[in-house]
Amino acid sequence: MRKVYNKIESVSGNVITVRAADIHYEELAEITTRRCTSLAQVIKLEDDLVSLQVFAGSRGVSTNDEIRFLGHPMNVSFSEDMLGRIFNGSGVPRDGGPEISESVIEIAGPSVNPAKRIIPSRMIRTNIPMIDVFNSLVASQKLPIFSVSGEPYNELLARIALQAEVDMIILGGIGLKFDQFMYFKNALEEGGALNRSIFFMHLASEPIVEGLMVPDLALAVAEKFAISGKEVLVLLTDMTNFSDALKEIAITMEQVPSNRGYPGDLYSQLASRYEKAVDFEGSGAITILGVTTMPGDDVTHPVPDNTGYITEGQFYLRNGRIEPFGSLSRLKQLVNNKTRDDHRAIMDGMIQLYAQYLETLEKRSMGFRMSSWDDKLIKYGELFESQMMSLQVNIPLEEALDRGWSILAECFKPEETGFRTELVKQFWPKKEEAEGVAHGEN
């Protein structure tokens, strides 16, 4: 029986201090207040003075509330029974189902030995052409979706969760609005993907510190499944909220802030999560997609900036579309030579033409006269946007490549596109087919 303490020395922000002995660093405690029972974690030890970060927040904490130390750090269960279940930021079920307490694992475990890592080689198909064709997602990759508030980034994540060619999805929500939470739940339920998903959901209405644990919980569970051979995709939204939670704790602890109030270890904190993405040789892999909303659409803001240095590329979600410029999958070269012969050519060629289309638009807006080439580009650009870029488009890679050729054939003569002759011979559609597809289904 562990000792119970009931004399809180100080309360500051969401951090409380008590005097206690024999306490381990990062150990958990349970604090029972008038309002609720919450977990708290040891974040500093100084002689017998123990600082704890209270997950449910310090509102309503009385100086004589009971604190019971649990003697172990933050844990999470790991079992097949977790599939289809929804947990909160402390790992407690929030779907009314039974608690899962078997095979408990420690979260935020050691990092993978670089000598055991391998060069990534498997593509994850999502049926979203802007990803599959232009910036292929690769197993063990870590990629952020850079976006701004109001963009449909959660809708994009839900679609990826439904369609990605993986064994299971672990969705971590940090500071999620209630309607977004329900949206995820319903979308995955309706899409029939709930039984291959695990949710760790922290809502915006809950104290922000509780959200801090979400990435670690999600990744610890993902790691176990990956080692047992599963291809796991971890989706995190929104990592800016996570960073803000770090900032809040750092300021409460009177740490010296480095950049716009964020703690100096923001990079290391983010990296230790994102670097959990790994391909375990001979078994499964963890792939991470995280949403990072950019305050003020500013990519030099500390959160997207540090994230960009950590991740292997980024998707820019703007105006409801994945931007072809700026978006980059650093690992795509490792997989897109193994799909279809025309993959790389379509990837480069279509984007170059789209860039020319944007130049033409600029020219048009400045009142220059449009040449017949400009007209072709405008037709091309519009088709490209509606039939490739639109997030409504939902087709496998091969179909997307075929559609690419159709769009090209609809607008240009082969020699105008700059494609290699052999490819044109092999893939350029005959006239009738081209018209059928470009006007046809969407």
Binding site: D22, V112, A115, P257, E275, E312
Partner: protein, 572 residues
């Protein structure tokens, strides 16, 4: 020496406070003991009977009252034959061996020997009994991959010592005794091939330091010609994310004209160093025809590995570099990225509650950066050999803004600045080193007047380009337009280089000189064009021919034929 130990009295992140009532030394190594785990730490501040230690591993689970054992030794690395081809973490733990023992994950508190203690080395003595020696003198040698590895008197041996015993030619392990030496007062010291050296203290057991003058050829045209690096010099590569820092480092690590390359992956993505680790053993060194790994040491302390060890990793790498320099070898140290190293200092400084400087970096940031780069240099050994340590560090400035403290402090102390530009990277102009902002204080591999001329055109071309953005192409004179086209031509055929093509990726200095001359001829020819359209199509044609030329093997028949095509085109 009696074992000094203390008790933990406070824990805050990776900083622990230890109460100790005995003699301790600043920067000595101590171990926090938790069960069978020994967590390596370093004393970084002493106050009364309290020592502040940074722990090189996660402090999770430690508690007040736990024992800390002090070693009395400064943080050191093991030096001796067998370092080449190794992959170490920041504290010189061999990662492949750790993986063999512990599987996928990095265990906490496990320490392995950095050098193989069982492997036998073929030792040939170089000194005789009675010879006078001092720190850094060669006792003998062993072959290590393609190099002669000199076994040296440990660098801390000062004054004149006499060789009392020396092993015969034969096979020995690194821990067997191979010599014993005696000083004037009769102190005797037994020596083995392996010895330790504290990482934060520069090795200075050489005759003298020399002025770096010879260019270090990287085979990257924009570097060797425009922003050269000297053997024994320093340079930095700052750039925002996505600008291609790591690719430049990778290309340099393959083609640079040095004996040994040490790659310090300091706080960056693990994926990048994995590429090097997996590919280097398969690649052949163009200079020797042997595996590239045979001349490489990798120090991998990637972003998710403990932060304090990241701070140490840069010093570990430098010390290994200095060690091989002592043998008269040319060493290149590539540190990617020094910003992560500086951030590690910042994290620690914050925990120590030091008064922060700019962007919360500690006030001593500049002096630490200067100390690090000053460990580079060209030296003459006691034996008259010349060795060099060249340091190239990448910088990852927050927000891509070069005004930040790490970039600024670095620029003060390096000899060359290769600033990467996001605009050039977005325009797919690689390597994305900015041709106007970058600079170098070293001598070019190409004759200086050719470089000056080309630079002049680049500068004027950029001015014309800016003007053209305002007045449009129509408002630009044909003369100016030609200057602009010439500058774009230099950019396309010379500054840009295809790192993935085996021939174009590596341009020898002879070739750089040769094509520079042709390029200058083009710059100095007054072409008479009727209009801009004609000028443009002429230069596009010339550009295509010149790029094709770059892909041809130097001095091959095709190369000579293509040269004729180009010169004919110039002479019209």
């Amino acid at each position: 020496m009696s074992q000094v130990s203390g008790k933990i009295s406070g824990i805050n992140g990776n900083l622990i406070t230890v109460v100790v009532n005995d003699t301790i030394t600043q920067n000595e190594v101590a171990y926090a003991v938790k069960g069978d785990e020994h967590l390596k730490s370093e004393v970084i501040r002493i106050q009364g009977n309290k020592a502040f230690l940074q722990v090189f591993e996660s402090t999770k689970g430690l508690k007040v009252g736990d024992t800390v054992e002090f070693t009395g030794e400064l943080l050191s690395v093991q030096l001796g034959p067998g370092l080449l081809q190794q992959i170490y973490d920041g504290l010189q733990n061999p990662l492949p061996q750790l993986a063999e023992k512990h599987g996928f994950f990095l265990p906490r508190g496990q320490i392995l020997e950095a050098l193989d203690h069982d492997k036998k080395w073929d030792f040939t003595p170089k000194v005789k009994v009675g010879d006078k020696v001092s720190g850094g003198y060669y006792l003998g040698s062993v072959p290590e991959t393609q190099f002669t590895h000199y076994v040296m008197v440990p660098f801390d041996v000062q004054g004149e010592w006499t060789v009392e015993e020396i092993a015969d030619k034969g096979e020995y392990t690194v821990v067997e005794k191979i010599a014993s030496i005696k000083d004037e007062r009769g102190n005797v010291r037994d020596l083995q091939m392996q010895f330790d050296w504290p990482v934060k203290i520069p090795i200075q057991a050489y005759k003298q330091k020399l002025m770096p003058t010879d260019p270090l050829i990287t085979k990257v045209r924009i570097i060797d010609t425009f922003f050269p690096v000297a053997k024994g010099g320093t340079y930095c590569v700052p750039g925002p994310f996505g600008a291609g820092k790591t690719v430049i480092q990778q290309i340099t690590s393959r083609y640079a004209d040095v004996d040994i390359v040490i790659i310090a992956a300091c706080g960056e993505r693990a994926g990048e160093i994995v590429e090097t680790m997996r590919e280097f053993p398969e690649l052949t060194d163009p200079r020797t025809g042997r595996s590239l790994m045979e001349r490489t040491i990798i120090i991998a302390n990637t972003s998710s590995m403990p932060v304090a060890a990241r701070e140490a990793s840069v010093y570990t790498a430098t010390t290994l570099g200095e060690y091989y320099r002592q043998m008269g070898l040319g060493v290149l140290l590539l540190a990617d990225s020094t910003s992560r190293w500086a951030q590690a200092m910042r994290e620690l400084s914050g925990r120590l509650e030091e008064i922060p400087g700019e962007e919360a970096f500690p006030a001593y940031l500049e002096s630490r950066i200067a100390e690090f780069y000053e460990r580079s240099g060209l030296i003459e050994t006691h034996d008259g050999k010349v060795g060099s340590l060249t340091i190239g560090g990448t910088v990852s400035p927050a927000g891509g803004n070069f005004e930040e403290p790490v970039t600024q402090a670095t620029l003060k102390v390096v000899g060359a600045f290769h600033g990467l530009s996001r605009d050039r990277a977005n325009a797919r102009r690689f390597p994305s080193i900015h041709p106007l902002d970058s600079w170098s204080r070293y001598h070019s591999a190409v004759s200086e007047n050719l470089v000056e001329e080309a630079r002049k055109f680049l500068f004027r071309g950029s001015e014309v380009h800016q003007m053209m953005m305002v007045v449009g192409e129509d408002g630009t004179s044909l003369e100016d337009f030609e200057v602009y086209l010439k500058s774009e031509f230099v950019d396309a055929v010379y500054l840009q280089q295809n790192g993935f093509d085996p021939i174009d990726a590596a341009t020898s200095p002879e070739r750089q000189n040769h094509i520079s001359e042709i390029m200058n001829k083009i710059l100095h020819t007054d072409f008479t064009f009727d209009d801009k359209e004609q000028a443009r199509s002429f230069f596009y044609d010339l550009r295509q021919k010149f790029i094709d030329w770059n892909y041809m093997e130097y001095e091959s028949d095709d190369f000579k034929k293509q040269e004729k095509v180009i010169t004919d085109l110039i002479e019209g």
